[in-house]
Symmetry: C2
Amino acid sequence: MFKEDMANIAKKVSWSSRGDDRGERAPLLNGAEDGKHSNRQFSGGGMFHVGSRSTVDLEEEITPEEDIVKSRLKEIPHNEKLLSLKYEGFRCLEIRRWVICGLIGFLTGLIACLIDIAVEELAGYKYSAVKQNIEKFTEFGGLSISLILWAALNSAFVMVGAIAVAFFEPIAAGSGIPQIKCYLNGVKIPCVVRLKTLAIKVFGVICSVAGGLAVGKEGPMIHSGAVVAAGVSQGRSTSLKKDFKIFEYFRRDTEKRDFVSAGAAAGVSAAFGAPVGGVLFSLEEGASFWNQMLTWRIFFASMISTFTLNFFLSIYHGKPGELSSPGLINFGRFDSDTVQYNLYEIPLFIIMGALGGMLGALFNVINYWLTIFRIRYIHRPCLQVMEAMLVAAVTATVAFAMIYFSNDCQPLGQDSTEEYPLQLFCADGEYNSMATAFFNTPERSVRSLFHNPPGSYNPLTLGVFTLVYFVLAVWTYGLTVSAGVFIPSLLIGAAWGRLFGILLSTITSSQSIWADPGKYALIGAAAQLGGIVRMTLSLTVIMVEATGNVTYGFPIMLVLMTAKIVGDYFIEGLYDIHIKLQSVPFLHWDAPPTSHWLTAREVMSSPVTCFNRVERVGRIVDVLSNTSTNHNGFPVVAHTTENEEPGKICGLILRSQLIVLLKHKVFVERASSRLSQRRLQLKDFRDAYPRFPPIQSIHVSQDERECMMDLNEFMNPTPYTVPQETSLPRVFKLFRALGLRHLVVVDDENRVVGLVTRKDLARYHLGKDGLEELQLAQT
Amino acid sequence: MFKEDMANIAKKVSWSSRGDDRGERAPLLNGAEDGKHSNRQFSGGGMFHVGSRSTVDLEEEITPEEDIVKSRLKEIPHNEKLLSLKYEGFRCLEIRRWVICGLIGFLTGLIACLIDIAVEELAGYKYSAVKQNIEKFTEFGGLSISLILWAALNSAFVMVGAIAVAFFEPIAAGSGIPQIKCYLNGVKIPCVVRLKTLAIKVFGVICSVAGGLAVGKEGPMIHSGAVVAAGVSQGRSTSLKKDFKIFEYFRRDTEKRDFVSAGAAAGVSAAFGAPVGGVLFSLEEGASFWNQMLTWRIFFASMISTFTLNFFLSIYHGKPGELSSPGLINFGRFDSDTVQYNLYEIPLFIIMGALGGMLGALFNVINYWLTIFRIRYIHRPCLQVMEAMLVAAVTATVAFAMIYFSNDCQPLGQDSTEEYPLQLFCADGEYNSMATAFFNTPERSVRSLFHNPPGSYNPLTLGVFTLVYFVLAVWTYGLTVSAGVFIPSLLIGAAWGRLFGILLSTITSSQSIWADPGKYALIGAAAQLGGIVRMTLSLTVIMVEATGNVTYGFPIMLVLMTAKIVGDYFIEGLYDIHIKLQSVPFLHWDAPPTSHWLTAREVMSSPVTCFNRVERVGRIVDVLSNTSTNHNGFPVVAHTTENEEPGKICGLILRSQLIVLLKHKVFVERASSRLSQRRLQLKDFRDAYPRFPPIQSIHVSQDERECMMDLNEFMNPTPYTVPQETSLPRVFKLFRALGLRHLVVVDDENRVVGLVTRKDLARYHLGKDGLEELQLAQT
């Protein structure tokens, strides 16, 4: 079902409109690839192409600097300051890493604080205005004016946010979690960790939440944290053209990625007040190699982030120093004394989990079709803005209609948590119960559903609300606005969960046992969220931390497990769907279980473009300019005369290294004159990172083309290699465990016969009929 | 300081007296090793030897079965049932894994429950008896009789426990955490996961806790969980000679190790009511390659374990179904309303962390010398039992003396949590405050220190108690009894932490701010424990989960961090000290930072014993029998005529595989007759696991020695290899990330030039003066 669609729509898919102007998105379909594919026996064999090297291959096979340091040291050990990186140096680096993590946590916490306060203020202003207006017109009639006011306010907010996103930084749309998942997995998406993206993201999320869309502000926090981390750890902003000249050591992919993990964790931590959950989120999505110190630093960033947020919010709320309030979303305190469940409730929880799995799958299927529709027909920015405004207006209208036609009046208690109780047509001292759900930020609605005493809600109200909000949330996710799906999912789940609880107590008619529909609301929320996003361990911990109580840990885990199993039966998780629609070479945890029969020979790309140890500049320029061989790494071989037998492998050199070498004209012929010049230093590689100039921007004269370049000094002399017979799972394990981006395949004479890249591995996945080759995009 | 000692004492060290009777503990010192060492330029170069293959090399380089399946398939695809392991098969395996994890959790919970109830009952009986006796003699004088009764009861309990451990299973001594750390790291210690060990461990811990030693029952739970996991996952007990014929697929090292991780997590989870902490403990100690599904299963086991424990304990306590009570240790509920700290308290927490680090280091140093003393002089079982009894008697005497000479009387409140309030010489309605600390199980004492209202303790009482208990705890850890160090550490820390809080409030004389000394007790407990064991992330989470409150997460993290940094300055953590004293090849997280200059050529063992693809049986038997080449893996090469140029690598075969092949006499000459016989199946390898017969037990006749064995079918055809120039950190990363146990080093012609094993890597560590070569034991 999905395969054909993906093949069809893939051409139109692009996460970013920016990729194109880099001149690197050339089609890859060359003879070599063709020949390889036709060798395969899979029915689905065929087109797999990844946009360009700018969209793939984040991770380093090895920190190249170290190897440069090493191979150069043999000649000039006294010349490079960094070569003498002794134990003290490492200690110092370690301390800097901690400082950076602290900064990441602090800044992420501040951003969360900013978002929270801005949303609070704007939403407060909006709801007060609308409330006053409604109250005014309830008496005199003419509520349609209130409706128009509400819809107009919503649309205005959303319009501003959508314009910012659609016209200035399309990558800032959505929750950003799929993008961060890809980044942590090793797929580089252009612009995803730029400062500009952060600004648009923050601004956009404030607008869309204040605009009353069925969205949350939690997902974007994860993206924000990641951007903060990428910026802070590099000690400069390329967007602002400002280089603080600090943290230069960390200007490389592996280090940056580690910090981005910490940033994502800090984001989760700030969003849900869940530092441990944040760490687990980062690990679940990003880590392949567990490192104690790294994890500990990530945890530190998370803790600082929650702490900062709490501290500033406590000042904002006028209770400075009261540090026990959790993150952006506050599930409210489940009191330890009433938190209780019984053994015989567990089957009920499992049923709710299955229900959540099914509803989540339904959500995902509808959203999938909607996304394809959007990719096909709504790809112009102005259309996108209009759709977002339409959704905002419809949301307001539907909410208004629901409130208007509902006659579910509830007494206004003393201890009511309602911020904006709407009386409307209710008697004095009562309020409209439907309005608590709609006339409120979604976070507050979730809290009300969890904690309002039994009897606060009419079953019919909840049923209708679930249905309407489900449709709105499906429609909203994927709009060109910055917004998360966590809170709407929780809200839908909490609504039907509470309904479930109420129905249960009606059926059994024993109020005492099923006394607390709030418990069922919590379980329902977990089930629905689990059914949509399919996160497991981290989500359990996030829910536990957000409720501040470990007692419900076991039921929540059971529910999330059931929801995942049931949901996976129908369709993948929401984020995975969106990742798949982008056709990026995303590597999952393990190789497909039945892929033992495939060997490296069958998956590798071949023939490979290799360089000689001392290579002619002209050939290097030609190879780098040739768009059909846009690999990132090139094996260096002992002797290769083209079109003949492959040479023995001596090393591996990266495209980025070659470009820096070309830029600095490190040619053999100039070696003598170069001695007087400044020697090429590590710093030159770092300064070029991460935006290495394209090969076209480097001018090489005809004379220089005839020069020779000695790659021995700069290549990685010991790249990882595998023999041709290695099975796919072993190759896969090497990639995952070591974070490789290319692996040289050699024959038993150590001659290069092929190269395995991420995309060669990402192609295989397990379908219903066994191993399938994925139909991925040709961009 | 420590280096010389280790070299000196190492000969006497053995975790198990059992290793010797396996006939495998031959010295490794052969010419090859010598030659290699003399090449090195390190001052400390010299003796590194690991006992035998039975103490090392747990992990598989690859699941060998898969490769056997694969290489054999080419010939006989229809003959092996397991070959057709299709997608359904994998699904089924996955379900079985979940079932096993559920079982592990359940059984671990049950064991925890058993220990808890047994200790509760025995201690209850003991304290009632002594209390009655004391009350009787307080009036008439002659309290020395009470003292004798108390000391005798303690000694009796401890004697029984110590006899069980010392005479029947010495590996069951101590907390078992160092052993489990080693196991998860990949070092196999004999008997560590046997059923008998579990029985002795459980029995021993009940005796030692009931015997009033300064020990906890939490550490042993981790070991118990691990044993349960190892047993359940294999579906048989070799000790009981009972094979349930289930879970046969999991009879291999990698799978077993994964389950043992789950078991350890379940143990932590049951001990502290901390399922997430358990998962993190397992990951921190064991995991090198993070796998989402595995982690999720570990979490499942942990959750089930806590759930089971809670469920059964709730029945025992007469409140069936009340599932919100935590694990074995109950820190009591920190009420959300009073849980609070302020920004300006953070420096105080950091000071406490530093104090904890120093006290922890002191603890470790003393315990280190004591352990060396014990290894030298107290190695006969009966001496060990006598020492344990002595400690028990001294503990009782000291406690009695403290109580007797203390005149710290406190009023007996209505809501007192004291189980056995001792009136002694206090006025009616009052109780002796020193007795709350001593006349109680340590868990209860910790809880009292955390929660008793301000003013419950006299500062002098706390000071003296800290001092005395510190000495007792140092003396106790390392006795030949099953016992953990967590609770005594917490108790010491809680005592001085509370003292710190009281002093603070005295100095500032503003009761309102520093109102809660319980908070400082908690922080002190964390600092002390962190200073001793130096765990980081997992300990933070365990403390947070055990207190049931996330608010103190940030201070606890800060404190643990400070304690670790300060403590590491002086000496390693307690578990690491004990691991180091055993001279096992324990691999840390990273290669030492300054080891870039070392290459594979410098660390590898060379020359390597290789086999031909078709090898003479006689040579195989000779090589396997030769105690000087007791490697576990042998490269298979294309052509090797001994003493000549090394051959090209074709594969790798394990000692265990060769032994099974020899046992079944899979010789080329018998191939024709073998067709009529049953073919060698995967099952044969599994059945032999994990206790492969020693080579001596296999009889090979003189005729058979001249037969040939075709290794092609059974070897791993694509072992991981590295070139000679690979740097140590890269080799290290391969070992950690892929869980290797040997790595073949090849030259650029793919000829075998050496073999790197775990012990080659474990040898290097970073000392104060840069890279050092570790002095490890010759056993």
